[in-house]
């Protein structure tokens, strides 16, 4: 049925069937603030999956550039839930271990997620710090901003946390294998 002869790893995504309606009009990419950065336009990603080129689709950095502005989704003439699919594709890439290396966004998301796991809440400065461990240059670039924020009494040095942050570590473990239908 498809060139690689493989099973469709995206098939458990509940909303996937909507991509069959895509007529490649380009409204999604035209509306997207960061589409010029993506390996593939969202519509191209749909075309790859429909063709059966699953490996290329999984490895694409496209969903990682989605900023959740939903402009594509409210304008798509075929009412394809583009943004929701981008979320599902990110989850799928993690499940399949095909997170692309040509973008730093996965690391940012990781830093965010680990911070939630550790504290139950996000503290911006702490998140920056954590991301900066992997990406010191980016952290350095943001240093002037950090100073400005400090001068305005907006730089939190102590990370905010819930009463029992360990519950979130538990939550992460509990849901690690399960995932749930995207």
């Amino acid at each position: 049925m498809n060139p690689d002869g493989k099973d469709n790893p995206f098939s458990d995504i509940g909303k996937l069937h909507h991509i069959n309606r895509c007529i490649q009009c380009g409204t999604c990419s035209g509306s997207c603030p960061l589409s010029d950065r993506m390996d593939h336009a969202p519509r191209e990603l749909f075309a790859l999956i429909r063709e059966g080129a699953y490996d290329e689709a999984l490895a694409s950095n496209t969903p990682w550039f989605c900023v959740s502005c939903y402009a594509c989704m409210v304008r798509c003439p075929k009412e394809i839930p583009v943004t929701d699919l981008m979320y599902a594709f990110k989850e799928k890439a993690r499940q399949q271990d095909t997170v692309p290396k040509n973008t730093d966004m996965p690391d940012m998301y990781d830093a965010f997620s680990k911070t939630v796991k550790q504290f139950g809440r996000i503290t911006e400065s702490f998140l920056m710090g954590r991301y900066g461990l992997r990406h010191p240059l980016a952290a350095a670039k943001n240093a002037p901003l950090a100073v400005k924020m400090a001068l305005r009494h907006r730089l939190e040095l102590k990370p905010q946390a819930t009463a029992d942050p360990s519950a979130f570590a538990r939550l992460y473990d509990l849901t690690e294998k399960k995932g749930g239908k995207p």
């Binding site: 490649q24 009009c25 380009g26 990419s29 035209g30 589409s35 010029d36 304008r75």
Partner: protein
């Protein structure tokens, strides 16, 4: 042959080539039929509908004295007529026939052969039982009016009128606007020939006006429709113009002198103003103005103006004019109510109504037209000539949030615009499309021509029209944001003018017209044709036909062809001077009827009248469609449908269960 003779039934089971025989054991069905009461002969044969097959029936009737026939084969929609004719040929009343559908209802839908055969046997048995109760029925000839009424005076209606009049029919053409011409009167040039729309249409308009057999009702609407095929009675409401058409010379002085000059011109799509007394456009037919009562100082504002009357040398102004009603008899009705352009105001990201230089295609037609708001000069609202124009395809079309369908003409008219803009101004034209649809004769060639003229085609549906700019030099211009899907780049093109190629939707009032005429509409509001492929101009309401865009979006060549077709169908219907009514209609037993009128209330076709003298309901046999609502409603079993008596239907059911 009276119905009191004992039934002598012939049963014929058809192989239908490979369609019935492999699945259903036809010999077994025939053998089974032989065991049923009153069956004199049962045969199976390869193709019952063929000449030998029909001859077999005719011969058996003549030689064996059969007085009933059952054929177990395909759907009655295919061959009921064929076999009834065979009975007729043999001298038997054609209603002594019953068909059992063992193809669509057994062979084609049952997986297991044994099951299919059992089902076929049941269907055949049901038909045999039923046919024993059949009565001989007669159809009637009803005389028809040799006239055709057409609703809508655009190119579709006008063409239908001319063709009908040419055939010698009296034509009534009813148009609700003050002038005929429809949307085509607004166009500048037409694709692919680039004919001037007015130049090719005004001769037709004049022909319609001058034709002795065409009675033109403009500024008029259909008020009521009664009657039935061949004998419709249509009441036309002639709305007051407040100008006496017999006196007006069309000099135009009243329009010059009218003090109310600031009314938005509908004909110019809101781009210019008109006076309260006006003709919609210079070539209007009839060339008689009409007063917009709501905006007229005298008629609508309670002021004593009357300037037009003062200056009219023919004394044609008549402020006291009342609506007039005229009822005409007509044999057939052709609906040609056209379309309405989609309003892109509901698509916020295209900026229509927000940014002044975003136009719809119809607005642009007026801009480009020599009789339009700028006398055909392609200028923006500030008077400057645009240097770059964007044309946006598929606005509101192919879009599940608006109109799902493709309106068929927009790609072609968009390319027409591109060509005209380039020719007139030398401006750079960018066309943003999803697909280029150019299916007609010379359409693809037109596309090639426009490509060669240097129009920049971008395959990408426009994501946004905005006045946000990146370069301060472009302040005041519009930016078109779209992905060029062919180069995989997101473009932000600064332009001076944007044209939104909007699709079509049904004309306002189509819903009411449908109700008046008994014509149904599809989910998008277009009138339903009788059969999408084989009967595109007829409707299920016999005698009512469709022409032009009211049936679905189409271009001018297709509209004209369809109009000629509709006229042809109407003429074919009426040409013999009479029509045959159907035999399976309601019958009300005088003795049983109590005069309760439940049947009259139930009838959707207004086919039952009431005889006040005898206090009973009476069926108008020409109007009755045999739906059976009266039979179901009647509390005293007085009403029944011929050919669907209780005995017939119950007999059939018993054998099926």
């Amino acid at each position: 042959m009276t119905s009191r003779m004992k039934p002598k039934i012939g049963v014929y089971v058809c192989h239908c080539g490979m369609n019935i025989a492999p699945k259903v054991n036809v010999e077994e069905v025939a053998e089974h039929a032989k065991t049923l009461p009153h069956v004199a002969v049962a045969r199976d044969y390869k193709f019952m509908c063929s000449n030998p097959g029909q001859d077999m029936i005719v011969n058996d009737i003549r030689e064996l004295g059969l007085n009933r026939v059952v054929v177990a084969s395909c759907s009655p929609r295919m061959h009921e007529k064929t076999f009834r004719n065979a009975l007729r040929k043999a001298g038997l009343n054609p209603y002594y026939f019953q068909m059992a559908n063992v193809r669509e209802q057994a062979s084609w839908v049952t997986k297991d052969s044994a099951e299919a055969t059992e089902k076929a046997k049941a269907l055949a048995s049901a038909a045999v039982t039923r046919v024993a109760f059949h009565q001989p029925l007669l159809t009637r000839e009803v005389k028809v009016e040799k006239s055709i009424l057409i609703v809508g005076g655009g190119i579709a209606g006008m063409q239908a009128a001319l063709t009908s009049a040419q055939a010698g029919y009296q034509v009534y053409l009813v148009e609700r606007e003050p002038s005929i011409g429809g949307h085509m009167a607004k166009f500048d040039k037409t694709f692919p020939t680039l004919d001037c729309a007015a130049c090719i249409m005004t001769p037709k308009m004049v022909d319609v006006y001058q034709h002795p057999d065409i009675q033109l009702f403009t500024h008029s609407e259909i008020e009521k429709v009664e009657g039935f095929i061949g004998n419709f009675e249509v009441t036309v409401k002639m709305k007051p113009r407040y100008v006496d058409m017999t006196k007006c010379t069309g000099c135009g002085l009243c329009m010059e002198k009218c003090p109310t000059k600031k009314i938005t011109s509908e004909f110019n799509e809101g781009l210019s103003k008109r006076t309260a007394i006006y003709t919609p456009f210079p070539q209007a037919v009839p060339n008689v103005p009409v007063i917009d009562a709501a905006n007229c100082l005298t008629l609508g504002k309670g002021k004593k103006c009357g300037v037009c009357a003062k200056f009219c040398e023919s004394k044609a102004i008549d402020f006291d004019q009342q609506p007039e009603f005229k009822t005409v008899k007509t044999g057939a009705i052709i609906v040609a109510t056209g379309f309405k352009a989609f309003d892109p105001g509901s698509i916020g990201y295209y900026g229509y109504g927000r940014y002044p230089e975003v136009y719809t295609s119809l607005e642009f037609e007026r801009l480009n037209n020599a009789t339009g708001p700028t006398s055909g000069k392609l200028v923006m609202k500030d008077g400057k000539t645009p240097e770059r124009v964007a044309i946006v395809h598929c606005v509101g079309s192919r879009d599940q949030r608006h109109k799902k369908y493709c309106s068929r003409v927009c790609c072609m008219y968009s390319m027409k615009f591109a060509h005209l803009i380039y020719e007139k101004t030398g401006a750079e034209v960018w066309e943003f499309y999803i697909d280029i649809r150019s299916p007609g004769k010379n359409y693809e060639e037109f596309y090639n021509r426009v490509q060669e003229e240097g129009v920049k085609f971008v395959r990408g549906r426009v994501a946004e029209i905005t006045d946000m700019t990146d370069d301060p030099k472009d302040r005041g211009r519009l930016t078109v944001v779209a992905e060029n899907s062919l180069t995989r780049r997101t473009l932000r093109i600064p332009v001076d003018m944007v044209i939104l190629s909007v699709g079509m939707e049904p004309s306002p009032g189509a819903e009411d017209m449908g109700r008046l005429l008994g014509v149904s509409r599809d989910a998008d509001g277009w009138f339903n044709e009788l059969h999408a492929k084989l009967a595109p101009v007829a409707t299920p309401m016999t005698g009512v036909f469709l022409a032009g865009c009211c049936q679905g979006p189409k271009d001018i060549p297709d509209t004209v062809a369809q109009s000629m077709g509709a006229a042809g169908e109407a003429i074919a219907l009426l040409s013999k001077g009479s029509v045959t009514t159907q035999a399976e209609i309601s019958n009300i037993d005088e003795d049983l009827c109590t005069g309760c009128k439940s049947c009259i209330a139930a009838c959707s076709y207004s086919a039952i009248g009431f005889d006040e003298a005898r206090r009973i309901a009476v069926v108008n046999e020409a109007l009755c469609m045999g739906c059976g609502s009266c039979a179901a409603a009647c509390p005293s079993s007085a009403a029944s449908v011929r050919h669907f008596s209780d005995r017939q239907v119950m007999g059939e059911l018993e054998m099926l269960l």
